[in-house]
Symmetry: C2
Subunit: 421 residues, 2 copies
């Protein structure tokens, strides 16, 4: 028998709230197993678990399309400094000392932070993926975990990583998928990039890569390959609908057309791009071409959190001020980027609250001081509130946070405080 | 006898945390009446109230230097539209229908929101100030409440407002001061501005005014007065150390020098300037001249919250990406802007945790998932966490929030939900 959950008297925001009146109605929502079974169930429907949804709204949760989750343990370790100094003198020396256990605890902290701020999926790129998989499976979220490839790995290590992907079976790991993750064009040579593209095709995995994050990357690519990063990647046959490209800040219009033609998903990381002064995302051109834009937080060492609500606000604020147009990049658009567009990129049948879809959802309090008055729920959610209005998080039909409590959170905090002082 | 509060075992961040090691030590802090009496009290010190500060840090609270508090009831009423349409078709028609009761409840909601996000003082400009005063006095915060002057008020109204300032006595209202608040150069004629400057001098009040918020304001000023807004205000003798100028986005270097020479405090409102696409604040020139820069949120209809923590992050993110320099505008600098610089502008002897200073403070949880690890408390506070890490708020030696609860908050939420649907 599948487990059932009935959420009673919850506000369902059916219509895109373009006017102040379209804020939906309360309903009873039945989840059966890991899917939404009925959005208009009878109030006396029997269920294994009943949740009182009064004074709450149900919203799609976040899908964070670019993270280095375990870097939560580097939060605030080095800020306000140039990228090169930051990496060479602080981040890399710290990372060189990390042990598998550090990755496990760092990822658990990251997942705790994500759940508390409404995220149920992350697309990760880091090391020691066994530890990451363990943390994800224990904590009940979804993840696409990158098998990170870099040129400085020995050939044996590379072969081991390739085999890992070849031998992986999603059937054994319901909420976890692996991705082929060549780090970037400046850390992977052309042969490795070609091998990764082939491997992703052979193993039917997504390919996660940093693309055109900084101006330096473009300048160096022009020197080395006589063309720009997107053109270079297209030339070697790497781009396709399985590709999730993070950042994509320094591109021209033709490159955006190439990305569209290949069906690439582009991940906007506004906090990271702003904090590291990488540049301003060409959101208007991306939208004009109809690119599937998703959102990500990047790692906590360059953000310094994994809060997708804050990321949405940052994205629309930056867009408005950088174009001088207060009407651009509406709250609804960034909400779509942070939810359904991210799920779509990975073929996760979720990101909207609809019958038959996977039961991923948030219950947010309508009694929170920043949720009132509520002329427009989407506006309040994107512009006004913060993560503290999230009461309950449901992933794959399981309650992973209720009344803001996550099982085992005290243990995670204690362990992190003990380890990193 | 003065009331005493002992905060035991709390982390006091004494040294500016420029390195990862300088995170202070725990101590016992004694408050007597409305001032910090002893930062290193014996643990067995007797006090009327004892707070367990274990696993918490004490931080200065926020001083929000530019608000239209009652506009909380317009939160999300109209977004993502051009300024003119926003004002003419939405904000002003709504405001025309407001009654004194609306101002009272709107301000109470705003103060609730401010307390919950760590703010103990706001510099306000709106209407029906009796209602605003009532809300401030009831809820235990501090405020400078503007007697707003605009050209379209009848002469009798103006005289009444002038008399209000002349007859005001701070002695009867400990935490409330009034300010002379000519709205802006485009809503007040030259005579009214001159009268306001004289009135502020006569009544020894601060003068709160919008200055150079938009490019339009500068263009119109050039047409009408053949000079730019700051030069115009200086020519008519309005600028002085009692002036708090909000926004100040569109100014040249010479105007910044004028502001410095006159001792004006400038208020940076990054969210509002970004959301309305007003422009980018010249933080570097302001800092180079040594201007007293403070921070504000503006009203909730153009933000859409009153969260000074979010405002700090927005300020430093915008500064870094707009200059291309990740080292500029450090976390410590924006924290100073949002705390001690704001208090200093109004001669409030607070904004730092020090013996003899007014007892305004926050206790923030060090067990919050975004406060760990804690290499640098200031970095975590500005970049990583959100308001949910604030456990306790103390203003003028009184506890106005404890364990995230504010007295009467349920009544405020219920009333707002009933009134504005």
């Amino acid at each position: 028998m599948l487990q059932t959950i009935l959420i009673k008297n919850v506000l369902l925001n059916r219509i895109k709230p373009v006017t102040s009146k379209a804020n939906g109605n309360t309903t009873n929502i039945l989840i059966e197993g890991n899917r939404f079974k009925n959005l208009h169930a009878a109030p006396d429907t029997k269920a294994d678990i009943t949740i009182d949804g009064s004074d709450m709204a149900i919203l799609p949760p976040f899908y964070n399309l670019h993270t280095h989750a375990a870097m939560d343990i580097l939060r605030g370790y080095a800020d306000d400094m140039p990228l090169f100094e930051w990496l060479n003198e602080h981040i890399w020396p710290f990372e060189a000392k990390l042990k598998p256990d550090d990755i496990y605890w760092g990822t658990r902290l990251a997942i705790l932070e994500m759940i508390k701020s409404g995220t149920v999926f992350f697309n990760d790129m880091y090391f020691e993926i066994d530890e990451t998989i363990r943390a994800v499976e224990e904590m009940g979220v979804r993840a696409a975990i990158g098998v990170t490839m870099m040129e400085n790995h020995q050939l044996a290590v590379r072969e081991e990583k390739f085999d890992l992907l070849r031998n992986w079976s999603d059937n054994d790991h319901r909420r976890v998928m692996l991705t082929t993750a060549p780090h970037a064009i400046y850390t992977c040579g052309e042969q490795l990039l070609r091998d990764c593209a082939r491997l992703a095709a052979e193993t039917n995995t997504h390919l996660h890569i940093h693309v055109s994050e900084t101006e330096q990357e473009v300048t160096d690519c022009l020197k080395a390959h006589d063309t720009t990063p997107v053109r270079y990647l297209d030339r070697i046959g790497l781009l396709g609908p399985n590709v999730v490209a993070a950042h994509v800040v320094h591109v021209d219009k033709e490159e955006i057309q190439i990305l569209k033609r290949r069906g690439v998903t582009v991940v906007h990381n506004p906090c990271s791009n702003m904090k590291l002064a990488s540049g301003i995302f060409h959101f208007a051109d991306m939208m004009a071409e109809g690119i599937n834009v998703a959102m990500g937080t990047d790692g906590s060492s360059s953000n310094n959190n994994l809060d997708m609500r804050e990321e949405m606000k940052m994205a629309t604020m930056l867009a408005k001020v950088s174009t001088g147009d207060p009407t651009c990049l509406s709250a609804q658009t960034v909400l779509d980027w942070a939810t359904v567009n991210g799920a779509r990129a990975f073929g996760i049948d979720a990101g909207v609250i609809a019958e038959g879809k996977l039961a991923d959802a948030l219950l947010v309090s309508l009694n929170h001081e920043r949720m009132v008055p509520c002329y427009n729920l989407t506006s309040n959610w994107v512009y006004a509130t913060d993560s503290s209005c999230i009461d309950t998080v449901i992933c794959d039909g399981r309650i992973i946070m209720q009344h803001r409590h996550v099982d085992g959170e005290e243990d995670i905090i204690n362990e992190i405080r003990k380890r990193y002082k």
